[in-house]
Amino acid sequence: MINVETVRADAAGVLTPPVLELHDVKKAFGGTKALNGVSLSVQPGEVHGLIGENGAGKSTLIKVLCGIVRPDEGAINLSGRAYAPTTPREAKANGLQVVHQEFNLLPYLSVAENIFIEHLPRNAFGVVKRQEMNVGARAALDAIGLSDIDVRWPVERLGIAHRQLVEVARALMTQSRILILDEPTATLTSRETERLFTIVNDLRSRGVSIIFVSHHLDEVFRICDRVTVLRNGETVFSRPIAETNQDELVRAMVGRKLQQQMASEMVSLARPEEALSLVQFRHPQSPHAEGISLQLHKGEILGIAGLVGSGRTELLRAIAAAELPLSGALRLEGAPVSFRSPREAINAGIGFVTEDRKEEGLILNMPIAANVTLASLSDVSRAGILDSKAEIEVTQRLGAELKLKYGGPAKNAATLSGGNQQKVVLAKWLARNPKVLLLDEPTRGVDVGAKAEIYALIRQFAERGLALLIVSSELPELMTLSDRIIVMSQHRVVGELSRPEFSEERILQYAYQGEQQQARH
């Protein structure tokens, strides 16, 4: 089954030794075998795709490589020499640079300081050379096309996508032999993704090896030279990209064949009754008096597209009353409503799956069951006293429904992989049976298999008459799911498309037009 080539013939037919080799690396956390025999080899100047379902062990593998986690078994060779880092510092000294899946930024320090945090430029007295740092940071951001933010801003002020790019910029600051990117595109829209790929290509041409983790197979095919598939902590597959195809990769990842639901096959389930409508609704950062107006019907799936920073997240937050809107009206099932707290919104039947599950969605150090029932505690308690049996039942039911991979309802949410954590967040809202569900990047960091399951679930809920508002930076996802897509730019609705009109080009056209209009003002 394991099919690992340790050397490959390069163009000239000369054997080049791999820069990084792993043999049968294993790592268990308590009972969980996160890595159960991973072998792979990375050539100099190659982009090596690392894919696998949620929880397959990708991030753990990366943590092993950069000295955060120590493997239980197995050997690692770096440029032919045994390599067993014990600290991130050691890994860096050996030329490994990582962009982690979780953010590692310093919110109150400036963008420039964040970019230079590894080696702040200093003079002989240890004083930071600020001018040099700012200019350097500016150049680094321009290089990845992030020219619209000031390097002296605190990172706190940036949105999630910009933060991701700052992390990439930071990783690019030091000359490395191996650059590891753990799902860097999960928060990026296509424009940023393109820029990232340009950079990756450039690095490859300079002989840097890149390990690229992504759940987007199209990206893997576009940029990778070779791909390794992990399943349940084992290498199942490792071969040049040219010798494989999407179907094979998916099969290798999930161990079965997936049926693809395509947009064209699906009919709109929208009913005539109105579920939610916004009239000149302004979220707190909205610069325009006209705000946003839209209508959402029962059973309808409305997608919201837009470039990073177009105000999609803030719109959802304002609807869910996570932040209070400035002005405008909200109608729920025809009746005017106004929420003063998330509590009121939730009681009225609104559910909100946030974009940042670690900060806003989950209580990582509490049991999965406690997370699942967090928004529906009255259903699993009597007179304020919890019924743990009921909690476990709910968790098991939803866990099965969402195909959650977990150790048990009492295990902490922190023990789950990124994708499974996202499923727990979904379960939390499904447990409440809301009328309107707001989803912000619902499949961020979710693997292909789970994604298909989530899509199916979303359709099921629409069938039951639930109204769904989905923000996503993945256009194929929006086009698969939505009955209708609106495009936002600069906090305005700049376009609306019905299903027959769907195409990536049109959506992007609207999005960029909006930007340019704004730029002319």
Partner: protein, 337 residues
Amino acid sequence: MQALEKTQASETIDTRRLTGWSPKVLLRDAGIGLALLLLIVFFSLGTEHFLTPNNISNILTQITINLILAVGMTFVILIGGIDLSVGSMLAFCAVVGGTVLTIPDLPVFQAVALATLAAVGTGVVCGFLNGWISAFWGLPSFIVTLGMLNIARGAALQVTDARTIYSFPPSFNAFGSQMIFGIPVVFLIALVLVAIAWFVLSKTVFGRLLYGIGNNEEAVRLAGHSLMFYKVAAFTIAGALVGIAAMVYMARLNIASPIIGIGFELNAIAAVIIGGTSLNGGRGTVIGTLLGACITGVLANGLILFGLSDFMRQMITGVVIILAVIIDKYRERLTGV
């Protein structure tokens, strides 16, 4: 399929974990219990009088007030807060309660009932203010309760004009040193409070959300719960417990003075933390707090019996506080809880 099996297998094991009552959590508390046991064995061997019934009931009496305060402190620390004002509040509650208790010509029972109401009421008001001010303005409770530390102390001095209140009803007083089977009644009261707190924290929705807030406030808020309510409630509960502790104090010492309780907050916090509750909130149990309070109490008592000089005693107390958390850390690494 595989995943499903996994789920079912682990299902049967522990519903208790959800409520903070699994073998692992037990082991966690047992770890602190072990430290306590070691101390007890050490003092039993090292001193003559340590393990006598009399001394044990002494120790239990002596930890009662700290235990009651520490139970309240557990609520506050679990939500990620801290309450520096309990010592001053104790004095304020005591002088208010004491004033009521000494109203002339009131039948004992009424006097005690009214005094309890007054003391607990005072604690509730101060605690409510602590919670409300910090939650409403989003201020760190450290600084708000530091303010309250001064306010309550000043108020206690002001209302009494720095005089001690005394001459409480003899029967109230007798109650303070009552024993049942050699166990002080006031300690039993504290134990009942521990049991109630344990139930509330581990079995109720309210408790669950306090843990949730300590772990991730924003997630709890976005799940539709009022942070304000729970935060204020935690501080108010702590205040109410200070009121009860004040009544116990009066029953035991037969006075209410505006200068009592200085530094008690640090003892209560030490008990909570030695008991394994995280200062960042979200993790810990009130059983741990009980054990933590026992450790500090046994230590104070044992070191005196050991005949150590006061200064050495103080130094050793400091060392043991640190050792206790180091041991807890090792236990944590071993059991992974």
